[in-house]
Symmetry: C2
Subunit: 229 residues, 2 copies
DNA sequence: CCCGCGTCAAGAGCACTGCTCTCGAATTTG
DNA sequence: CAAATTCGAGAGCAGTGCTCTTGACGCGGG
């Protein structure tokens, strides 16, 4: 049925263009993007947008999912570009990729990891893409353990913590000791804080040498995890 | 001049009431608080608010500064409540105090540490209050070093990093080795990420035992810093 | 004491927002 | 070819921050 396909194709192109224009607005106006402004940029009237997105939040959700995917791809690609056994190299590459993506797309990063929009609840469709960056990071630990290059820390976790981490591990990293997973999550948590601090201007006048500071901070977390030099 | 003082006192009370009502709205409606709604709650018309605050952003700034102070006080009080030599106890108490405050005032925390409001630039008056929580945290390291209970890590920092940290240290923590300051900042960065993850719903279904997870994560950073058990 | 200055709240109004509904026009479908 | 679907435009609603004008009130100096 080529007839209906024409319409479908035009419609898909319209959706893509709306998202592209919205992304552009996002980078200048921040999270409060205006449907009317997007419509104006496309030579349309605001109500026409509603033919393609039922609400502004749905548009935001689409942008969020695409942003998660882009970030996840960037991190995964950087990790994949290193030798599987170069654990520290993979760690640094993945961390830097996340930071580079965030610096290149600050508004989208803020959309993902900034304060949640008051009325907006992230739909379930976003949780899988959101997991990809930390999964890539902890995957480095999994590989290191499997290759015998990384020893699980000799540490007894409090039982409730071990329990929670066991559930997470069973779903995403079967066989990974909980103590190692805990340190991987600490690394991910720290990485998020590090990028957010830089992006949200919290070390504006304090730290001029951003790149070096970032690398050293992530190296500290690699030490905590036990990644071999 | 008691006459003009009456006016001044009424005016100060009005300002306080506006801030109180705005804070209440903040906790329910998030960062996009409405001047008109605040005015309605006070039985006033929106334009009357402008007698006391020249713009919505100025009101936000006032709330931000008060929030920074409240958080800083909470952290400092928790730290001060422990024996000066119980470094790990102080660390945990300070971290927990920050988290407790954030959980009790999620909207204000988001205002401080969430994505920056697009048009809004934090005025200089906010930087000093913003420094107080991390200063309290790193102060624990300074005391530990002075008491001989904490050894600076034997580590050579990259020169640019050492340089930046030396400037920060000279202003706030004279005599503190840069390597230790770096770990203190890692701890602060991680703490911020940890609280944000919990508050912004990123470990909603994943980690049911929040308290224990939080304590264990901060303990990991205490390990990295080298705080003695 | 009381008049005038300064402060204050109110109201109207501007430009903007997300969103809904209706109405023609174009296009696809049977 | 006729019917059904899709689409864009426009008007309109309720809300926003903010400005300006108007009138009332309290205060201090003459």
């Amino acid at each position: 049925m080529p007839a209906s396909s024409i319409r479908a194709r035009v419609r898909a192109e319209m959706i893509d263009e709306i998202k592209a224009v919205a992304r552009r607005h996002l980078s200048t106006d921040g999270a409060n993007l205006s449907l009317r402004a997007v419509a104006r940029d496309m030579g349309m009237v605001s109500s026409a947008i509603y033919r393609y997105f039922p609400s502004r939040d749905e548009l935001l959700t689409a942008l969020i999912i695409e942003a998660y995917d882009a970030l996840g791809d960037a991190v995964a690609a950087a990790d994949a570009g290193r030798d599987r056994l170069d654990l520290r190299g993979r760690w640094h590459a993945a961390c830097r990729a996340a930071r580079d993506w965030a610096l290149a797309h600050p508004a989208e990063y803020a959309l993902l990891y900034g304060s949640p929009v008051p009325g907006y609840a992230a739909p379930d469709a976003t949780v899988e893409p959101a997991q990809r960056p930390p999964v890539t990071l902890v995957g480095i630990l999994r590989d290191g353990l499997a290759a015998g290059r990384l020893d699980p820390p000799a540490e007894d976790l409090p039982e409730p913590v071990r329990e929670d981490l066991a559930v997470i591990g069973a779903a995403l990293f079967p066989g990974l000791p909980e103590s190692l997973l805990a340190r991987g999550m600490a690394g991910w948590t720290h990485l998020f804080g590090l990028i957010s601090f830089e992006l949200f201007g919290r070390l504006n006048r304090a730290v001029p040498h951003r790149d070096e500071y970032f690398d050293h901070q992530t190296a500290l977390m690699a030490d905590l995890i036990g990644l071999p030099a």
